[in-house]
């Protein structure tokens, strides 16, 4: 309407707006030009001649093109509406007070960054119970710590302090690490990678791993990890499920052409393969990105925030196909930050992870060190001699290791051969800790507190012993809940946990989520546990590993522990074997130094140690080696169950 009249009364049609709209808009006050200074000079001829350039009034336009004035008013107003963009006010928000608009720096809103669908789907998976989220924030268990922020702070406050200690005696300081991360983040950005993108990493525990992880975090991207033994099949499954946009890997991973393998797969989301080492056709050299001139800060890339997803990890579960576990800085870094105090670590510590960084336990070591600005002693590939030598050379004060790592060093007498007296804390996790081994380690390392930690990819460090608990507790239990965590024993003796460190749910796996949580929001760990009178939890087995022999249920853990103590057995595992009559029977898998060993001999051994006949294994399979997770835990799901066994 114009002047209270509608379009029908005015006589304007859509065709008229189309026909005259552009002309009216251009010669109206919306576009004004002036040549010279005719008004100030009162040059009336020039004023009259340039009327249309200065912007004509509606009446003058009407007279010029043969419309009524009200028709011009109506059409001009419609054109102004069509041309109007509501978001231009945003351009002012960063200006003034010394900041000036620069056309070359300004990007129109419609061209600005937006999360792609995959990234939004992952962000959507970060759904926490609102009441719990409120509680965690209120308690300070969740804050705005990010890896990027922590690194920046340490680089500024103690830039010369060692961040990474490498076996060849190289030291990367926090300031140097910041600079390397900044450059690599800039390089990754140049590949078109950014906020919300999933970037996979398959590397040993080398400096490039840490730099890549921090650069991914700096971008606000999400790291997903591949273990070093992973090959094409795992690549295809995990890179596909995670929707990874890039992979950082070795050109040659011990004979496996990782980069080439990734490039050969049909993974439409995978845009870039970044290879460390010899040039690979089709892959981007890591060194080129790491040597980028313009870093993330110079590019003005926004800093991530704690609620952004930062990790998408696949479970090392031994009984199920991989499940994707998303974490953000709230859940992930908070656990490390709270753990630092509980483990009594400080900025002068030298922290070493025996497990790979691709595993959550390895990342836990990094996170703790980044919270306090401590040094990380890198062990690229675990061998017992390398581990002991590195502890001695790097004067490690805290060691995170799997029981198998520790056991191997003990068996080989490496703590006698190397000076490991600097160790003051060892945190054992990844699988059950045999009591005898814990005591033996404590005896060999008298200055070192041997502690246990129970955790999962979903829960991180959920339970652990504290320094000062004493070997009686730490050899027999996983201690008490981490700060911010709660634990309880549910039906059937299952350990259930919740807390600020808990993941929100599996990504893109509603079935797994339905099974993973109790109706009141506790995570079902699948582990069996008991609790002593002081509140310490001991892990006694896995629910799915319970043997149900004709209705008689028992946990094979104690049988396995006993078998492991047999002089001819180095590793054992007992799993249920389908049976037509009893439902299940126990099948024993073992790695033995005696190829002639037989089932009866083992049963006699067990009976001599007071094991009930109903718990004896009924079939024996000897293996050259066990299928192991990166933390040296036996993958029972991959043990080859015998078929056609006569019950």
């Amino acid at each position: 309407m114009a002047q209270g009249l509608n379009r029908r009364q005015i006589g304007v049609t859509a065709a008229m707006i189309e026909s005259y709209g552009e002309l009216i808009f251009e010669i109206s006050h919306n576009k004004q030009s002036r040549r010279g200074d005719p008004i100030r000079e009162l040059d009336f001829d020039a004023i009259a001649a340039s009327r249309h350039e200065r912007g004509m009034s509606d009446g003058q336009i009407a007279e010029r093109i043969g419309l009524s004035e009200i028709q011009v008013i109506y059409i001009r107003t419609m054109m102004e509406r069509r041309r109007f963009h509501t978001n231009h006010f945003q351009r002012l928000l960063d200006l003034g007070g010394g900041k000036r608009f620069r056309e070359e720096r300004f990007m129109p809103h419609e061209e600005r960054f937006q999360y792609h669908d995959d990234a939004l789907a992952l962000r959507d998976a970060m759904a926490f119970d609102p009441g719990r989220a409120h509680h965690y924030s209120e308690q300070g268990w969740w804050n705005n710590d990010t890896l990027s922020g922590l690194l920046t702070r340490h680089a500024a406050e103690r830039g010369d302090a060692p961040a990474l200690l490498i076996q060849d005696k190289t030291m990367i300081s926090y300031a140097d690490l910041w600079a390397r991360v900044d450059r690599l983040a800039g390089g990754l950005h140049g590949l078109g990678l950014g906020r919300g993108d999933v970037i996979a990493v398959q590397l040993p525990n080398v400096a490039e791993y840490v730099i890549s992880y921090l650069a991914i975090a700096r971008l606000g991207a999400v790291m997903t990890t591949l273990y070093m033994p992973h090959r094409e099949r795992e690549f295809e499954t995990l890179l596909g499920h995670s929707r990874a946009r890039a992979l950082i890997c070795l050109a040659d991973a011990g004979g496996f052409p990782a980069a080439q393998a990734a490039l050969s797969l049909d993974l439409p989301k995978l845009q870039s393969v970044i290879a460390i080492g010899v040039p690979v056709t089709g892959a981007v050299p890591f060194a080129d990105l790491a040597g980028t001139d313009t870093g993330a800060d110079a590019l003005g890339l926004p800093q991530p925030v704690a609620a952004d997803p930062m990790l998408l990890l696949y479970t090392s579960g031994t009984t199920a196909s991989p499940k994707a576990v998303p974490h953000n800085s709230h859940t992930m870094l908070g656990n490390g930050r709270l753990g630092v105090g509980a483990h009594q670590l400080g900025p002068d510590d030298v922290i070493m992870s025996a497990p790979p960084f691709g595993h959550l336990f390895g990342l836990y070591a990094l996170h703790m060190s980044f919270h306090i600005g401590a040094a990380n002693l890198l062990l690229p590939n675990f061998t017992p001699p390398d581990l002991a030598a590195a502890i001695e050379a790097g004067r490690a004060t805290a060691l995170l290791a799997a029981p198998a790592h520790m056991a191997a060093c003990l068996v080989m007498g490496l703590f006698d051969k190397h000076d490991c007296s600097t160790l003051k804390l060892a945190i054992l996790s990844g699988s059950a800790v045999p009591e005898d081994m814990a005591r033996a380690a404590s005896a060999k390392l008298p200055n070192c507190e041997i502690t246990q930690l129970w955790g999962m990819t979903e829960t991180q460090g959920g339970l652990y012993c504290r320094p000062g608990d004493g070997i009686e507790i730490s050899a027999t239990s996983a201690g008490q809940p981490a700060p911010g965590a709660e634990a309880r024993i549910g039906e059937d003796g299952e350990l259930q946990v919740r807390g600020s460190m808990l993941f929100p749910g599996y990504f893109d796996n509603p079935d797994a989520n339905a099974a993973a949580f109790t109706p009141d929001g506790w995570f079902r760990s699948g582990d069996l546990a008991s609790q002593d009178g002081n509140g310490n939890f001991a892990i006694t087995g896995r629910i799915k590993e319970i043997i149900n022999r004709g209705g008689v249920k028992y946990n094979p853990r104690e049988i396995e522990d006993l078998l492991d103590s047999h002089p001819a057995i180095s590793q054992s595992a007992i799993v249920p074997m389908p049976d037509k009559a009893l439902g299940e029977r126990a099948c024993c898998f073992a790695v033995s130094s005696d190829p002639e060993i037989e089932l009866d001999m083992l049963c006699d051994y067990l009976l001599s140690h007071g094991i009930a006949k109903t718990k004896l294994p009924e079939h024996l399979v000897l293996l050259d080696e066990m299928p192991l997770t990166p933390t040296r835990k036996i993958i029972k799901g991959r043990l080859p169950l015998p078929v056609n066994i006569d019950s």
Partner: protein
């Protein structure tokens, strides 16, 4: 012109009356005041927007300017600048008082010229061009910054006008245009753009300077300027977007996202924000910000030195 009679038969000297009226304006806070040539205005202003369209027996148009931003105001972030532009109300107050002064002293009709928009033609069309009055009255000259008027001493001012049937001798427009300043000419020679052209957030200004250092061309895309600064335009746009949204979430986002919610706030309080310009062109203008009497601090110093 000279001595003439007003309604009650009293005789006044026109020149003296003019000085008396202008002195009143300056005494009340105007930095500059002048009388525009009515014939010129009637020729230049388009039909419907001429002084006589409002006041048929008009004889004179008095224009006055008050100080623009303070030094402090130029230092604030752009998003806050919209709240520092209310000094134009001081100009209206003075012109309102001047109209009363003329009527009481000279017994001649006078009005305070309405500064608002023409409600028949929309919010971008003023009833009268206060800018034209001021320019013809010689208290400002058109700049390369979208024809914003500048004064060589007072820089950037807000203007108001008084219409009266009292016949006063007119002033002449300024002999020289202070825009472009020498530094702007120098920048234009080097970079091809003046500060106002370069730093406009929506790049609505362009033009050129001739070899003599004078304005050759000025182009102003008022539509682009309005897209950013005239937020009342956004209200119907986002209502339309809300109505066209496919679902409830889309409607919610259209109406309640923080930016749009700010519009409702501004509507409800009836002030604040930007209703005319964003000031970025003036913030970088050496005349607007650094003219010898452009702000109260400079004026105080000049007064002390004098």
């Amino acid at each position: 012109m000279g001595e003439y009679n007003v309604a009650n038969g009293t005789k006044f000297d026109a020149t003296e009356a003019k000085q008396t009226v202008l002195d009143y304006c300056l005494r009340k806070g105007a930095l500059a005041a002048g009388v525009a040539d009515l014939d010129a205005l009637e020729l230049i202003a388009p039909p419907g927007h001429r002084p006589s369209d409002i006041m048929p027996k008009i004889k004179s148009v008095i224009s006055l300017g008050v100080g623009g931003q303070t030094q402090g105001a130029w230092a604030v972030p752009a998003k806050a600048m919209g709240y520092f532009g209310s000094t134009e109300t001081r100009a209206y107050t003075i012109s309102y008082g001047a109209a009363f002064f003329i009527e009481s002293k000279y017994q001649t009709p006078a009005i305070y010229c309405p500064p608002d928009m023409d409600n028949e033609k929309g919010p971008r069309v003023p009833l009268q061009s206060l800018k034209l009055h001021a320019e013809v009255a010689g208290i400002g000259a058109r700049s390369l910054a979208g024809d914003i008027l500048l004064h060589p001493e007072f820089g950037y001012m807000y203007f108001a006008s008084i219409f009266t049937e009292l016949e006063l001798p007119p002033d002449r427009p300024m002999a020289q245009n202070p825009c472009p300043a020498p530094s702007c000419v120098s920048m234009y020679r080097q970079a091809g753009r003046t500060p106002c052209q370069k730093f406009c957030p929506v790049q609505c200004l362009s033009g050129g300077i001739d070899e003599a250092g004078k304005q050759a061309e000025m182009h102003y895309d008022m539509a682009a300027c309005a897209e950013m600064s005239q937020q009342y335009e956004a209200v119907p746009a986002l209502l339309e977007r809300a109505m066209a949204a496919e679902d409830g979430q889309g409607r919610e986002e259209a109406l309640f996202d923080p930016d749009n919610k700010m519009l409702w706030y501004k509507m409800s309080v009836g002030s604040g924000g930007l209703l005319a310009q964003c000031f970025e062109c003036m913030r970088v203008c050496p005349i607007a910000t650094k003219a010898s009497l452009a702000d109260p601090i400079r004026r105080s110093k000049a007064k002390a030195e004098a």
